[in-house]
Symmetry: C2
Subunit: 332 residues, 2 copies
DNA sequence: CTGAAAGCGCTAACAC
DNA sequence: GTGTTAGCGCTTTCAG
């Protein structure tokens, strides 16, 4: 930068002004500066700039997601990217893999890079450790799951209500023996969805059979094995509600192996790939990922731009997408 | 940091040493510094650090992909994340959307953040503009598509060979009327795959019917319309080779609408979701995304760590995954 | 409209 | 082992 100033016969400050698009620079001088910059192939160093800049912003946000390669996370990532781009921000993303330690590590890694804001789909269950960072000026937002022991904007889906709806839908087709397959209830979303299932069963006046409830799997194979075992036992269900996408996929696979996919009703929670191309096509409760991301991004950027209003906890509705698998009637 | 030094009764430099894990610090002092840091809730500012640090590294790499929300890109992203994490690096990612201007914008945005290395799955077809950046010390790597008019390590799949194999596979089941559906040939991978198709047809001694070649679609709907129209014409094919995943998906949908999915043979290039759950399951030529990412990451980090050897252009093999749709014999 | 001086938070180099 | 000084590349403040 000094060299650019020298070559164009001006001062550091003027070069700075030119590159920051400050209006008060002579046309001619500005041109000279730009020419010199090109010749010396100078690129401004933003990180150095933000060190001294007024509000110290780095124009960077961080995104802590479950796994950036899964469709839910990467779809969110993309929404944030678009939103950030319009504002000249870039996004740093990391995968948590349901590991609370990793969450803390990545938070401090991102904070050491001085991100202006941080969106977390948390793996941990205590976010008190973030309080000092708020003091330091970092803005926070939670997505998919709310913070615990910490106050920040959050955006989640209607997990419970979606589950209730799934059960009501199955019940409306005459099912009374409905099995539940989901993640371990230590995960917020899984626990909410299970609660919703329980509530839905109560509303439908169906008594809950614990033998038809399966939670927490280490692998798709484990899910499949459970499904198969369940059907080999005496009290097989006529319908299945699977509350997570990988679980749903494994259930489908198991039903196919047993050639029961056209006999047993199935409703899944969350998107699964090619749901409409399967036979039968899969009926799902889907989350509005774009709306979640959009809204969460908006809340975060409002804070980054100085908004100081009360913390909100917003809920995005889920939808029932009827495709066939959920409309199979019970057979005996 | 100054405050930490004051509170622990030592100097800036010692605080710096403590946080950089330099061995030559007294145990006791080190403890005092850490305690003070906690009390003042001090977090080191890496961006300031790298400004003065020896090699000026920011421990950040940039990733320019087609679209971080598509499965190919996000799987690559994850591989890089893992590789980077082990080395204390973080990754900045952006989507190009087949837009060459956007590629240049993002490159300069990332360079202004002083990334140590940049991996590009290019949208543009001239990368001469990167030459000055090499001088400035940034390391480059290309993935999925090679650079043009610029020299850098690259890692691509065996696009041509995969296509040849697809054709040979279909031909071996007796097909002679094979349709081609793919992206516009201005995209490197699409052009390679088309070439491979042409070569494969020649090898199988099948004369190429241009009326069965469809390239460049704006939407899945357009693909479907083309498939339907093709079957309504007099010279319908008995097999289809679809050289891109979204195109393959649209072809499947079209075949299903016409209830021909069990009669027309289909081989696709690249992964499609739930390929094994469809009926028939889809035979595919698949890329080894993990190997591509792994290898590309290794090349980049070698350069970042100082390796100065010759530029390489490495090729990762594709595989034929036989599942059913590609083994349907021709019907008249 | 332009420039000089100071300093953001940190680390290199060199003393002690 | 530890401290001092200078300065990374930039923007601020304030004076012209």
């Amino acid at each position: 930068m000094r060299e650019v100033a020298a070559l164009s016969g001006t001062s550091l400050k003027t070069v700075s002004r030119v590159f920051n698009g400050v209006s008060t620079v002579d046309e001619d001088l500005s041109r000279r500066v730009k020419a010199a910059a090109r010749k010396l192939n100078y690129t401004p160093n933003m990180t150095a700039g933000s060190l001294r800049r007024k509000n110290g912003q780095t124009k960077t946000i961080g995104l802590l997601l479950e796994d950036i390669s899964n469709p839910f996370s990467s779809a969110l990532h993309r929404v944030f990217e678009n939103y950030a781009r319009e504002r000249g921000f870039i996004v740093l993303a990391g995968s948590l893999d349901e590991d609370a330690d990793r969450e803390r590590d990545l938070v401090s890694l991102f904070i050491s890079r001085r991100v202006d804001g941080l969106i977390i789909a948390p793996a941990g269950s205590d976010h008190g450790y973030l309080k000092p960072e708020v003091q330091a000026g970092t803005k926070f937002g939670f997505i998919d799951r709310p913070p615990m022991n910490f106050s920040a904007d959050s955006v989640v889906s209607t997990n419970r209500e979606g589950s209730r709806r799934a059960v009501a839908h199955l019940a409306s087709f005459g099912h009374t023996r409905i099995a539940y397959f989901g993640d371990q209830p230590s995960i917020y979303t899984a626990s909410e969805r299970y609660q919703g299932f329980v509530e839905g069963m109560k509303q439908a006046k169906i008594s809950l059979d614990k033998k038809l409830v399966f939670q927490g799997f280490d692998s798709p194979e484990e899910v499949r094995a459970s499904v198969v075992a369940m059907f080999e036992s005496s009290n097989a269900p006529t319908a299945i509600y699977a509350s997570q996408n990988l679980v749903t996929l494994a259930v489908i696979q198991a039903l196919r192996e047993m050639k029961r996919e056209k006999k047993i009703a199935l409703v899944g929670f969350d998107h699964i790939p090619a749901a409409e191309l399967l036979t039968p096509a899969i009926t799902l409760i889907t989350q509005d990922i774009a709306a979640m991301g959009q809204h969460s991004a908006q809340l975060l950027f409002n804070r980054i731009e100085g908004f100081e209003g009360a913390v909100v906890q917003d809920v995005i509705p889920t939808s029932l997408v009827v495709r066939g698998s959920g409309e199979i009637r019970p057979t005996r």
